[in-house]
Amino acid sequence: MFSLELSEEQRMIQDTAKSFAAEQLRPRAHECDEKGALPEDLLASAWELGLVSAVVPEELGGGGMKRSAVTGAIMLEELAWGDLALALAMVAPALFAYPILTQGTDQQKKKYLPLLLESKPAPLTAAVIEPVINFDLSELTCQAKKKGAGYLLSGKKCLVPMGSTAQSFLVYAAVDGKPGYENVGGFIVERGQKGLKIGERERNMGLAALDTVGLELAEVEVGGDAVLAGGPSCDFGKLMSYSRVALGALAIGVARAAQEYALEYAKVRVAFGEPIAHRQAISFMIADDYMEIESGRLLTWEAAFLLDAGKDAFKEAYLAKLYTDQVVIKVTDDAVQTLGGHGYIREHPVELWLRNGRGFTTFDGLATV
């Protein structure tokens, strides 16, 4: 029944993520951003937390933990509070593995899920976003044409996380050129396959520390066994609802980081003889941000709860993402504004959060819970 109290397990996972974020991520986020890289050791220690791999079924050697979107949302908020790039890098393998877990064939599960149990991050990722204006999940320009028992994939993708080193890509494409979520298929493409060109590391406003690449697919041939759910299409709407919940939680994490930082700054920064927190123009703005963060979190959690309860939640997850997209834009801008000139320089993290936060309206499919 209605409650907003975390379960023991949720609290444990939250604590784990929170500590890791505070101790490992936050102190290194600036350096990672400036260098444009997440060091191997950081990725490895993040992976060792086992936050992504716990859901591998027991029969495949995993912990068999029940997958929970709510718990995932709680975890991702904390990680994104630490650093968004790392949080996205951590869940990149899940972008491949979780759809296999829920919709994959037995053969696909056996082949790929055990990779999550390795000590190093599994070299798996997914390709959803396309480098076009008005990119729309219901009208993918990447196409899959039937050929024999399999498909020929053609099109372009971008913002593929950890794509430079990934071995296997779950590529989403419109089957036979038909629009609509219901006609989207997931196709497993292996690095080195003929027709697959993996682009240079991308350069974006934010996420500099995260390895993202573009893909060009020129009639890449995919066998029938490499089609998610046995094909032709999969339950893409459900996959995207999980993604939206994840992105909502990540956006809230970034926003919360910014709001808390601005709040602390306002308490100590003195102007005109008093801390600027004493001015309503500052404190009301931050109070408003606090309320918007609460709002976005509850919307996201509710959508997550519905997914966990086996509901469709397509609308709820969509609305939650629309909402949190705007929350993170507002709050990170307000944080820079609160710090004034100090917010504009890269010594303080708020400008990084602003840059990262500007991507959420674009990040469809870039994370999952």
Partner: protein, 419 residues
């Protein structure tokens, strides 16, 4: 464990009250708006018969009872099942306001005055003052009188006075109260009462402020004005003047001594603010639903899932309206649930009120805008909902006052630093 499952008790009340809202309230909504200062007999009588049947009591007793039941738990003690009285109340208020916010406020009911008695009164006071709401022959109202011409949000500035006559052991009240919801109904038109805030000792500031139950038709009390308002016209909003109005000693609520009486009074806001939010949500939902209905009737579709930039402007507005209603409800339910679970909810109560007041004002404005001439016309209720909704960003603490509470709490600043 985090759960958004609606408790059965809440769902039942929602369903029950929704029927009432649909069956009785909607049909009188326009009439009541057009006939300011008149009583809607069917509504009052329906609600009175239900009150006497115990329905209102079961809905509203909870708000007051929780304080006693939710004493600090001993460590290790198995947590008691949460009883959701506040949540049930929020659900009921949402549905009533979905029906009509003005009629909701005008229903014969103990109101905020009764709630204060229930919360701060002794067993004897409860018995004496509250019994009438389930036993009287005719409809009865209760009211709360706080605001004065010179003291709105700044309740500490209250200038009404209560002097103790040592001979008769009576309180002598003097002062003027304004914006008393159902004030006339309570003290002139029924055998109800008003709970008036007054100062025993103006030098003591907040600590001197006490609340006094003043019975209907008490000599020295006079309703001097009933306001004409933008919305919620079905409800009377009265000015009440006290001139050497004598009240029995035992009608003071809580400790009559001058010491920290004020904090307790302010704490009732933690219970009432989420209810004001719930009322706003009911109005907002009414507007949203009607808007969606007309939009879809007119051939519009709501294409959830596509690139938001490709939605039509109306579609996006409708979705944002929907989100705002949902968000408002979630925040309100959080505040109500915390009260039910015995968790201090001062911050969350103000969050729910501040956010909802603003959000629903926006929602109802958008609804009128989206429907153009149809929205602006009195042939639909949309324009009325806009007018009704606005009060929720004003009474029980304006949006600004509630944001101030939120800011003080999150910054950990007092009223001297963050003014």
């Amino acid at each position: 464990m985090i759960s958004f499952e609606v408790p059965a008790g809440v769902a039942n009340v929602s369903k029950l009250v929704h029927g009432l809202a649909m069956g009785v309230m909607r049909k009188w909504a326009r009439w009541a708006d057009d006939h300011e200062h008149e009583r809607c007999e069917e509504w009052v009588n329906t609600m009175w018969s239900l009150s006497k049947g115990g329905m209102m009591g079961s809905m509203t007793g909870g708000l007051s009872r929780k304080k006693k039941e939710d004493k600090p738990k001993e460590e290790g003690e198995k947590k008691k099942e949460v009883r959701y009285q506040n949540l049930i109340m929020a659900a009921a208020v949402e549905e009533l306001s979905w029906g009509d916010a003005g009629l909701y406020l005008a229903m014969p009911f103990m109101g905020l005055g009764g709630a204060a008695v229930a919360a701060a009164g002794t067993e004897a006071q409860r018995e004496k003052f509250l019994k009438r709401f389930t036993t009287a022959d005719k409809p009865v109202w209760g009211a709360m009188a706080i605001t004065e011409p010179g003291a709105g949000s700044d309740t500490a500035a209250i200038s009404a006075t209560a002097e103790l006559d040592p001979k008769t052991k009576e309180w002598i009240l003097n002062g003027e109260k304004i914006f008393v919801t159902q004030g006339k109904s309570s003290v002139e038109d029924s055998e109800g009462f008003v709970v008036a805030w007054a100062s025993r000792d103006r030098k003591a500031g907040r600590a001197g402020i006490k609340s006094f139950v003043v019975e209907h038709h008490t000599p020295g009390m006079k309703v001097t004005k009933v306001e004409h308002k933008l919305g919620i016209r079905a409800s009377d909003t009265a000015s009440i003047v006290f001139e050497d109005c004598r009240v029995p000693y035992e009608n003071v609520l809580g400790d009559p001594e001058v010491k920290e009486g004020f904090k307790g009074a302010m704490a009732t806001f933690d219970a009432t603010r989420p209810m004001v939010a719930a009322s706003a949500i009911g109005i907002g939902r009414a507007a949203l639903e009607r808007c969606q209905e007309l939009y879809e009737k007119n051939g519009g579709k709501l294409r959830y899932g596509i690139n938001p930039n490709r939605l039509t402007s109306a579609e996006r507005d409708l979705m944002m309206m929907e989100s705002q209603v949902r968000v408002s409800r979630l925040l309100t339910w959080k505040a109500a649930w915390m009260a039910d679970a015995g968790i201090h909810n001062n911050l969350e109560a103000s969050v729910s009120k501040a956010k909802t007041g603003k959000a629903i004002t926006w929602v109802t404005n958008k609804a009128v805008e989206l429907l153009g001439p149809v929205g602006y016309s009195k042939q639909e209720l949309l324009e009325k909902w806009l007018r009704d909704a606005k009060i929720n960003d004003i009474f029980e603490g304006t949006g600004q006052i509630n944001t101030l509470v939120v800011a003080r709490r999150i910054f950990g600043l007092g009223s001297k630093e963050l003014r």
